[in-house]
């Protein structure tokens, strides 16, 4: 799968063509390591100097993509990437088997589980601001999230979607995307389990 989509070029404020694809290779992981990490570290250093913002440093940045490359071969898992101007701008991993719905009205039904989303650090406004820089592209994470909803529809899961949100992301998934905060998961570092019903995902796609 490889499709042209649009994201926003922050410099011009205009939409720009990008590609979303699911043929993620080891080279993409290496690219995230080599290109993303130094920028992330710079931003983390800048954030850590400000005690009010130090807690904003996302924990997942300590994680090493390369540890997960073995999963590329697993059928239940799917990786998506977005590239623009020859560079990887965001990456996502979803699982169609590992989890099922927890909301009472759809308990036990299959869903697409978003295991991981990361956008390139230069696309994250909250990271670029401390460095005195403008983010490069906007809407990358939203496009990846949209792909997960669309995959859920294609799988016959009617848009049902679930994820464990990090504390700093709960506002995005609950307030902005409209997911239901089902509850803390004691088996997953007490992270908040959020879920989409078919109606909620329809509203997300329609922009209601």
């Amino acid at each position: 799968m490889r499709e042209t989509i649009q994201i926003i070029d922050s410099q011009s404020g205009l939409p720009i063509d990008a590609e979303i694809f699911d043929e993620i290779t080891l080279e993409h992981f290496i690219e995230t390591q080599a290109d993303w990490r130094p920028v992330v570290l710079d931003a983390a250093r800048a954030l850590s100097k400000d005690p009010n913002r130090a807690t904003l440093i996302p924990r997942h940045y300590h994680w090493d993509w390369t540890r997960k490359e073995a999963e590329l071969k697993m059928l239940a898992l799917k990786f998506y990437g977005i590239s623009c101007q020859g560079h990887l701008q965001g990456i996502m991993k979803v699982d169609t088997v590992a989890r099922s719905c927890r909301l009472p009205e759809q308990q036990g039904k299959p869903l697409v589980y978003i295991d991981y989303i990361e956008t390139a650090p230069w696309n994250i406004k909250l990271l670029m601001e401390p460095l005195g820089k403008r983010q490069q592209y906007r809407g990358v994470g939203s496009r990846l999230f949209e792909a997960a909803v669309l995959q859920s529809e294609e799988e016959g899961f009617k848009g049902r979607l679930g994820l464990h949100s990090l504390p700093g992301s709960e506002g995005f998934y609950v307030k902005e995307c409209g997911m239901t905060p089902v509850g803390r998961d004691p088996h997953k570092q007490n992270l908040l389990w959020c879920e989409f019903t078919p109606e909620q995902s329809r509203r997300y796609l329609a922009g209601e």
Binding site: H60, Y116, Q189
Partner: protein
């Protein structure tokens, strides 16, 4: 997949995204050693692992590089390099193997297979790896026989 083509929709979603980090929790489990069961284990590859270690050792020695010099040239951690050469049960990081491949002029992807980082069913590779491991010694100077074995094995890896 039918992505939304409405510009206003995209603008609105981008505005929402700008106000937050959008990190998702699944992989945070890998930060916590108590959750290691969720991390996929690399495939079992004892034979290719031995060949991987011997190959690195011979290629390094043939270039007359000390471990320290190789770590410096490849920009990898010396302690990890030492661990690779002395502990065959150790699984090196992907970046390390990639860097070593570049520095020693060895095919990086094949090295990843040998190191157990990538799974590929290839009986010929297994046989060639066993043969190579048996014909090479981990210490001492590179003998003419070892040199021949090294050349033959690298040629095999590059051809496949």
């Amino acid at each position: 997949m039918k992505f939304n083509t409405d510009r206003k929709w995209l603008e609105r979603r981008a505005e929402q995204e700008d106000r937050h980090f959008i990190s998702v929790g699944g992989l945070i489990s890998t930060l916590d050693p108590t959750c290691e069961t969720e991390v996929a284990s690399p495939p079992s590859v004892e034979t290719t692992k031995t060949a991987f270690v011997r190959l690195l050792q011979l290629a390094r020695r043939e270039r007359r590089l000390t471990l320290e010099k190789l770590a410096e040239k490849a920009d990898v951690d010396l302690a990890e390099l030492l661990k690779i050469e002395t502990d065959e049960t150790f699984t090196p990081g992907l970046r390390t193997v990639h860097q070593l491949g570049l520095t020693l002029d060895l095919p990086a992807k094949k090295l990843m297979v040998l190191a157990g980082l990538l799974q590929v069913k290839d009986p010929h590779l297994q046989q060639a790896s066993v043969r190579f491991a048996a014909r090479s010694e981990p210490i001492g100077n590179v003998s003419p026989e070892e040199h021949a074995a090294l050349e033959e094995y690298v040629k095999f890896l590059n051809e496949r």
